[in-house]
Symmetry: C2
Subunit: 352 residues, 2 copies
C-alpha cells in the first residue's frame, strides 16, 4: 500500500515521539512491502515562532494532500502564562481538527497485563479495564461563539450541538459497541445542560436501531468517580468534546502512564493519529519521553487503512518492549532506557 503521511510533531516532546513512530512505520514498510512517504510540517508554538500562525496555510495544505496525519503534541508554557495573548499554539490543533472535519476522537484505554502494577489504582480495580471513549471533536463549547464584553468585563463561551453532530458520532460509537462487548455509556450533565438533554434524546432514539447494544447514561461527575472506582464496567463511552477531554485524560492514569495511550481522530475525509498526552515541555529533548502513545497511534493508523496484520505487529513489538522492560522512566523509575532506545527496540521488533 502507498500512503502519504503528514507529520506534525508540534511542541515539546511531540517531535521526539513522532520520530519514533516514523521509525516504526519505516519498519512496517520494509517488513510488509508498503510505501510510505512522510512530509514534516510545523504546527503550534513552533509554527507561531516561524510564521506567526499556529497552523500555517502550508501545513494545512499538506494535511489535505495526505492520506493520514501523524500528530505529536501541542502547547508551550510561555503562552499558558499569558492570558492576554491573541494567538496561542492550541488554536492550531483546534483549527486543524475543524478544517479536516475530524468529528470523532477515539481514545482506547486498555491496561496491559505486564504494566498493571504501574497503575496508581489497585490491581483488582484496573486489571480488566478495556474501554474506548468516543469523544465528539468538532462542536460544543470548544467551537461555539466566544466573546469578550469590555463594558462589564465579562467573557462568554457558547456550547451548541445540533442533532446531526450528535448523530454521526453516536452511530460510530454504537457500531464500535456492537463489535465489542455491546455496552454503550453516554456521559453528560443532563440534569443541568440543555445540550446534554439533546444528546440524551438523540442517543436514546438512535439506540432503537441497535437493539443488541445496551445503553446507559451517567452524569459526568459520577462518571469521573466510576472511572476511578470501577473502570472495567465500561465498554464504549460516548460523550461531548469537553467531558471527553477530562474523562480520557483521567482514563490515561488508569493505564499506568499518560505516555501509553493513543488516539485516532476521524471524519468523512481525513484521519489523524496522536497520543493523548500533552507536550510536556519539561521533558523536551531529555530523551525521557515515552514514545509508546505515539507508536500505538501508528497501530491505529494502520488499522484504519485495514492493515490489521501490520497493526498487530506494532502492538506485539510494544508488548515485547514491556515484557523485556525496555521502557522509559515514567513506567519504571529505575529504567535507563531513553525515548530513542525504546523507539529503536520497538521498530526492530516489528516482524511478520
Amino acid at each position: 500500500m502507498q500512503l502519504n503521511i503528514a507529520v506534525l510533531g508540534g511542541d515539546g516532546i511531540g517531535p521526539e515521539v513522532v520520530a519514533q513512530s516514523i521509525k516504526c512505520l519505516r519498519s512496517v514498510e520494509e517488513t510488509f512491502g508498503h510505501s510510505f512517504t512522510f512530509r514534516k510540517e510545523l504546527v503550534g508554538a513552533a509554527a507561531i515562532k516561524a510564521t506567526g500562525d499556529p497552523l500555517p496555510e502550508r501545513t494545512l495544505q499538506t494535511c489535505k494532500d495526505s492520506d493520514a496525519i501523524l500528530f505529536g503534541a501541542i502547547g508551550s508554557p510561555e503562552f499558558d502564562s499569558d492570558p492576554k495573548a491573541k494567538v496561542w499554539p492550541e488554536q492550531g490543533l483546534l483549527r486543524l481538527r475543524k478544517e479536516l472535519g475530524l468529528f470523532a476522537n477515539i481514545r482506547p484505554v486498555k491496561v496491559f497485563p505486564t504494566l498493571v502494577k504501574q497503575s496508581p489504582l489497585a490491581k483488582k480495580i484496573v486489571q480488566h479495564t478495556d474501554l474506548v471513549i468516543y469523544r465528539e471533536l468538532s462542536g460544543g463549547i470548544y467551537y461555539g461563539h466566544k466573546s469578550i464584553n469590555e463594558d462589564n468585563n465579562s467573557a462568554t463561551d457558547t456550547c451548541t450541538y445540533t442533532e446531526s453532530e450528535i448523530s454521526r458520532i453516536t452511530h460510530l460509537a454504537f457500531k464500535a459497541a456492537k463489535a465489542r462487548r455491546k455496552k454503550l455509556t453516554l456521559v453528560d450533565k443532563a440534569n443541568v445542560l440543555e445540550t446534554s438533554r439533546l444528546w440524551r434524546r438523540t442517543v436514546y432514539t438512535i439506540a432503537e436501531s441497535y437493539p443488541e447494544v445496551t445503553l446507559d447514561s451517567l452524569f459526568i461527575d459520577n462518571a469521573a468517580v466510576q472511572m476511578i472506582l470501577n473502570p472495567s464496567q465500561f465498554d464504549v463511552i460516548l460523550t461531548d468534546i469537553m467531558f471527553g477531554d477530562i474523562l480520557s485524560d483521567q482514563g490515561s492514569v488508569i493505564a499506568g502512564s499518560i505516555g501509553l495511550l493513543p488516539s485516532a481522530s476521524v471524519g468523512a475525509d481525513y484521519a489523524m493519529f496522536e497520543p493523548i498526552h500533552g507536550s510536556y515541555p519539561d521533558a523536551k529533548d531529555k530523551n525521557i519521553a515515552n514514545p509508546v502513545a505515539s507508536i500505538l497511534s501508528t497501530a491505529m493508523l494502520l488499522q484504519h487503512f485495514k492493515m490489521q496484520e501490520e497493526s498487530d505487529a506494532v502492538v506485539a513489538a510494544v508488548l515485547k518492549s514491556f515484557s523485556k522492560k525496555i521502557v522509559t522512566p515514567d513506567i519504571m523509575g529505575s529504567s535507563k532506557y531513553g525515548t530513542n532506545y525504546v523507539g529503536d527496540f520497538i521498530a526492530d521488533n516489528i516482524m511478520e
Copy 2:
C-alpha cells in the same frame, strides 16, 4: 447561641442522612447550651410530587427566614431517564442556590488516617491529602442562557462569567489559602475557553494583593490526572462551577468513600450545608447510607457561626466512630452498622 435551621432532606437518602445530622446538632445544643430550631421543608422530586414545583415558594421562604440551611440530596431516576421532562428535581437546588446568592461552594477533601486503606489509591499517594476546593456556584454554564432551536434541532448552553463574579470567590479562596499552606491552584481550560482566560487574567491580578500565597494554574484535563496521581500537591483549588463539580466528586473517591465529604455553600447573606454525594436512590430507606458527609456538613455549619469548639466536638465524634469501626458498609464491607446506629453513636459521643 440561637439558630433557626431550615432542613431540606430532598430525595433518596437525603432525608435519612440529615436526620442523623439533626441528632448531632441536638446533642451539640444540649452539651454546649445552645438553642437550635429545625424547620423541615420539601425540595426536589419530593416537592414536585407534592406541589409540581421542585422549589416551592414556602421552602424558599423558610430558607430565607432561617440562619442556615441543612440540605440532603437531590435527584430521582424517573426524571433522569426522561430528557423531555419540563420540570426536574435538580432545578430546585439550582434555583435555591441562585435565590440565596450562594456563590462559593467550599469542598474540603481530607484523608482520615484511619480510613487511608479505604481509598482505591495507594496509601503513599493519598495519605497526606488535605485540600479544599473553592467552586464558583452561581454563574457559568449552569446559569447562562439556554435554548432549543426546533428548526435545526439544536440546543445551546451559554457560559458567561463577569470579572466581579470571579473576583468575589477568588478573594475567599486566597484568604483560605493564606490561612492554610499558602498555595492556590486555578483550574481552567484557558487554552480553549474565553471565560477561562478571563478567570486567568482576573485571578493573576488579584494574586498581587496576596503576595504570601503562591498561585499556579492547571488545565482541567491535567488537573483530573493530578488529582489521582498526586492529590497532596494541592492546598486550595479554585475553579468554575462545571469543573468544580467534576473535580470535587473525583476528590471524594480519594477520601475512600463519597459518603464522607461535606460542603458549605456561602454567599453574602445565607449559608447552606450539604454532603457532596448525590441522592443514591438505590440505597434509600435501606439504612445503609453513610451519614458522615452530612454530619461533617454540620461541623462546617458550626464553624461558620464561629462555634469552633462545637465543630471540633462533632469532628472528634466522627473520628471516634472511625477508630471504633462504627461505620456503614461503604467504608467496611463487613460492617453490620446502619445509618441510624452510626448517627446515634456519633451524636452520643459529642461532648465538651
